[in-house]
């Protein structure tokens, strides 16, 4: 029975699994649900009485531990991986009483609780129940201007999404041997949070605890995990992994999200790795909404309970959430993605509006006019970068970049930033693509 057919519950279990089941693989060995809950109970006792948890842990077990401890105390977790002092200050202002949960020392003025290895008594008996509407997490969409937007995630919405994903990827209890999952995305990103924190709590899946970033790390870590393995990654990482020409350990599936996956990469995974290549369509606001097997299916199949509308999507536990993509219905209950609103660009899993970026550039002291340009291949090339043109007499590119660095996420910094005497604006003050292309060619000429 799908989630949508179930009656709303007043309380839902924190963990939907037995205490003897493995929830995480650490270098020291497998960690069971009972161990996690026991350690979380001990950590929860050390947390402040009230507040919001900024969980910066890079080790996925400790991220999980901190999240569960905060849930036990009724504290929402702020899904933020940015440990820069100005970001932490901004969060502390927006969420009075915010404290840090970290596994490494962090310089900040905020209260800090270190998440360390513990030898707490194991949890026995039934899992704790949480109020269905408890605010469990807050996700952020970065925006380009350093003013992130918050998206509230009640516990029932997170659980519904995890159960729907488990159903889609055949991870429900009884579907077969417990699976392991390794992710190249941080657990503070909504996609990484759903697949490596929420899924292990609600489905028969154990996450790999360590950081795996470079291709060799990822391939070695997969070797060390037990079957059935899932690899949760992005087009950017897949491109680097495929370039290694080393076949990974047998994979139950590879899952990609955050950007459209090129067909040749999907085909390479299916052919060279012998694994189904699946894509998830999701957004920080709504969470995961649909999936497809890219090489075989052009259209997306919504998760159980998800209803795609015109301009919005109905999500269990969240209601109607606006969409940044245009979609159209396709046969078999599926939908087709028609593309992003032209003003939005997405790089390295982060979104920005070109209009906002242009505004930030224009606000740099000494900049009289400026424009950001997205490359033609931005939807296909995972390593694509923006460029920018600026009119700024007397200023250097280094000075302007230094000013932009204070205001923008690093992935949106222009590469290159080109200083020009004037922008080719037409009679209406508009910049056409053709005029900008002409400018680029003129600047490239010797």
């Amino acid at each position: 029975m799908g989630w949508s057919a179930m009656r709303p519950e007043a309380a839902l279990p924190l963990v939907n699994r037995g205490t003897a089941e493995v929830i995480c693989y650490r270098p020291a060995g497998p960690m069971t649900v009972g161990r996690l809950l026991g350690e979380a109970r001990a950590l929860a006792a050390r947390l402040p009485a009230t507040g919001h948890a900024i969980n910066l842990c890079a080790d996925r077990y400790r991220m999980l531990l901190g999240f569960v401890a905060a849930l036990m105390r009724g504290h929402p977790t702020l899904l933020n991986a940015d440990a820069s002092p100005h970001r932490l200050r901004a969060l502390a202002e927006a969420y009075p009483g915010a404290y840090l949960l970290t596994d490494k020392p962090v310089a900040s003025g905020l209260p800090l609780v270190l998440v360390e290895d513990d030898t707490a008594e194991e949890w026995t008996g039934p899992a704790p129940m949480l109020p269905a509407r408890q605010l469990a997490a807050i996700a952020f969409t970065s925006g380009s201007t350093g003013q992130p937007t918050a998206h509230l995630k009640p516990w029932d919405a997170l659980v519904a999404a995890a159960l729907a994903a488990a159903e889609r990827f055949a991870l429900r209890p009884g579907d077969g041997a417990a699976s392991s999952v390794l992710a190249t995305v941080p657990p503070q990103h909504m996609y990484g949070f759903e697949t490596t924190i929420m899924l292990p709590l609600q489905a028969a899946l154990a996450c790999h605890a360590g950081e795996a970033f470079f291709p060799s790390d990822v391939l070695d870590a997969l070797d060390a995990l037990p079957e059935r393995r899932l690899l949760v990654t992005t087009p950017l990482h897949l491109r680097a992994l495929l370039a290694e020409h080393r076949r990974p350990a047998t994979l139950a599936a590879v899952i990609s999200a955050t950007a459209p996956l090129a067909m040749n990469m999907a085909e390479a995974v299916e052919r060279d790795w012998g694994a189904p290549m699946l894509e998830i369509y999701g957004a920080s606001e709504a969470g995961s909404m649909a999936s497809r097997r890219t090489a075989l299916e052009p259209d997306w199949l919504p998760y159980s309970g998800i209803r795609m509308g015109q301009g919005d999507v109905h999500v269990p536990g969240l209601g109607a959430v606006p969409l940044t993509d245009a979609v159209e219905p396709a046969p078999g209950g599926r939908f087709r993605l028609l593309g992003r609103r032209a003003d939005l660009v997405k790089l390295g899993g982060r979104r920005a509006s070109l209009a906002e970026l242009n505004r930030v550039l224009a606000e740099v002291a000494g900049v009289e006019d400026g424009v950001f340009v997205a490359p033609e291949d931005i939807e296909r090339n995972p390593a694509a970068r923006l460029s920018a043109y600026a009119v700024a007499p007397g200023r250097t590119t280094e000075e302007i970049l230094a000013a932009l660095r204070l205001r923008l996420e690093p992935v949106f910094l222009p590469r290159p930033l080109v200083l020009v005497p004037a922008l080719p604006r037409n009679g209406l003050g508009k910049l056409t693509r053709a005029a900008l292309d002409g400018l680029r060619l003129a600047m490239a000429a010797p």
């Binding site: 950081e211 470079f214 291709p215 790390d217 990482h237 370039a243 970068r385 930033l417």
Partner: protein, 99 residues
Amino acid sequence: MPDGTMTPTAIASGLTPQELDVARLIVSALSLEVAPEAIEPEAPLFNEGLGLDSIDALEMALAVSKAYDVKLRSDDERNHRIFASLRSLTAHIEKHRTR
């Protein structure tokens, strides 16, 4: 564009020939708007120095693997030191290169 030969500027820049090779590799792999000779050998590669980010880190791992058959890793405690600067990255490559 890198052409594989030493130039007088390179010698003046304070980079060793090996560092210059790695600098050229980085500049070309990441399409940086900086002359390889202009990279400060001791300046941080990431954040405030050259301003590289995680997309660059992956691109750099690809390029270093292809050119030197050296695999960069993140589970390594020394990782922060390896990526601290062009000089430390070059030293790591020189120690582990097989071609």
